[in-house]
C-alpha cells in the first residue's frame, strides 16, 4: 500500500497533462516546480521594483542572504566567489523554498523527486569541469586527477601509478553528482513517506482509539525535525557545490 498523501493541485496536473502530455509528460512535481518558480520570480520582481537605498521588509532578508552566501563562499572559492554567487544563490533559494513548501499539507516538495535533484547536481557537475578546464587548461586539469603524482618528478609518468589513480579519481568524480542528488532527494522523500505513514496509522487507529496518541504525538516531532532537515540539506547542497567548484577552479599555491 502506497502512503501517498492527497495532492491539492492534482486537477491542474491532469488538465495540463491532457493538453501537452504527448510532447512532455507532466507530473505533480513539475507543477510544484512551476509554483515555486512563480513564487521566486514574483518575489524577485516585487523586490526589484521597490529597490531602496535603505532596505525595508523583504529586501532586508534578500540582502542578508546574499551577504551570508558571499561570506560562506569566499574562503572556499577565493576570488571566484562573486562570479559563482548567482548560481549558488539560485540553488540556495530554490532548494530552500522547494523543501519548505513540502511541509504544507496537500502540497509536494519538488525536491522529493530524483529528477529535480539530479538535474541540479548535473548542473553542478558540468560547471565544475567546464570552469576547471577554462581556469587551468585541459592538460593541467587532467594532471590534477592523478593527484600526488605531478609533484613527484618526471619518472613517475613511466610507472602505471598515475594512470591507475586517474581512473580512481574519475570514478570519484562521477559518484559526486549521484551522492549530491540522492542525499537531498532521499532526505525529502523519506520525511514525506514518514508523514504519510503516520497519517495512515492515524486513520487505521480510528477503530482502536487506545493507540491513537502514538501518531498524534509523533507528527509534531517529525514536522519539527523536517523544518531542521530542510534548512540543513539546503546548506549542505550549496556548501558541497561550493567545495566541488572551488576545488576545481582554485589556483596552485607554489
Amino acid at each position: 500500500m502506497h502512503a501517498e498523501p492527497p495532492f491539492l493541485l492534482g486537477q491542474l496536473t491532469k488538465l495540463i497533462d491532457e493538453r501537452i502530455g504527448q510532447l512532455i509528460p507532466i507530473n505533480d512535481y513539475i507543477v510544484m516546480t512551476w509554483v515555486v518558480m512563480l513564487m521566486i520570480i514574483a518575489a524577485a520582481v516585487v523586490i526589484r521594483l521597490g529597490l531602496k537605498k535603505i532596505p525595508t521588509g523583504l529586501q532586508n532578508i534578500v540582502e542578508i542572504l546574499t551577504q551570508e552566501l558571499l561570506n560562506l563562499s569566499e574562503p572556499l572559492m577565493g576570488k571566484h566567489a562573486r562570479f559563482f554567487l548567482p548560481l549558488m544563490g539560485t540553488f540556495a533559494i530554490f532548494i530552500l523554498i522547494s523543501n519548505l513548501i513540502g511541509l504544507i499539507p496537500g502540497l509536494k516538495a519538488p525536491t522529493a523527486n530524483w529528477n529535480t535533484t539530479i538535474a541540479m547536481a548535473v548542473i553542478v557537475f558540468l560547471s565544475t569541469h567546464f570552469f576547471g578546464i577554462k581556469q587551468k587548461g585541459l592538460i593541467k586539469y587532467l594532471q590534477h586527477f592523478t593527484d600526488p603524482c605531478p609533484q613527484m618528478g618526471w619518472w613517475v609518468w613511466l610507472t602505471p601509478l598515475p594512470y591507475g589513480l586517474f581512473f580512481i579519481h574519475l570514478i570519484g568524480e562521477i559518484a559526486k553528482p549521484f551522492s549530491l542528488s540522492i542525499r537531498l532527494f532521499i532526505n525529502m522523500a523519506s520525511k514525506h513517506l514518514m508523514l504519510g505513514v503516520l497519517a495512515l496509522l492515524f486513520i487505521l487507529f480510528l477503530k482502536k482509539l487506545a493507540l491513537i496518541f502514538l501518531p498524534t504525538l509523533l507528527v509534531p516531532f517529525v514536522m519539527a525535525l523536517g523544518i531542521l532537515v530542510c534548512f540543513v540539506q539546503t546548506f549542505i547542497f550549496v556548501l558541497l557545490s561550493m567545495v566541488y567548484i572551488g576545488m576545481a577552479t582554485q589556483e596552485e599555491e607554489h
Binding site: H2, L72, S179, I182, R183, I186, N187, A189, S190, L193, V232, Q233, F235, I236, L239, L240
Partner: protein, 91 residues
C-alpha cells in the same frame, strides 16, 4: 508459494539493510558530535568555525544510511524483479 517467499525476503532485506547500515554512521556521528562539543566547551569562541565542518561531516556520514534507505525504498516500492512474480498471479 514462491512469490510469497520472494516478497517476505524482500521486506526482510529492506528492513535489515537500513538497520545494519545505521550502525556504522551512528558510531561515527557519536564520535564526531562528542569531539565537536569537547572543542566548543574548551574554546566557546570557536563555535562558528567548528559548526560548518561538523554539520558537513554529519551530512556526509548520514548519506551512507540514505544510500541503504534508497535501496530499501526501491526494494519496497519499485522492485525491478517483482514483475517476474506478480505476472503469474495477475494473468
Amino acid at each position: 508459494m514462491e512469490s510469497s517467499y520472494f516478497f517476505a525476503l524482500t521486506v526482510l532485506a529492506a528492513a535489515l539493510g537500513v538497520g545494519i547500515a545505521a550502525i556504522g554512521p551512528g558510531i561515527g556521528q557519536g564520535i564526531a558530535t562528542g569531539k565537536a562539543v569537547e572543542g566548543i566547551a574548551r574554546q566557546p569562541e570557536a563555535t562558528g568555525k567548528i559548526m560548518v565542518p561538523f554539520i558537513l561531516g554529519l551530512a556526509i556520514m548520514e548519506t551512507l544510511v540514505l544510500y541503504a534507505l534508497a535501496v530499501s525504498l526501491i526494494l519496497l516500492f519499485a522492485n525491478p524483479f517483482a514483475s517476474m512474480f506478480t505476472a503469474a498471479v495477475v494473468h
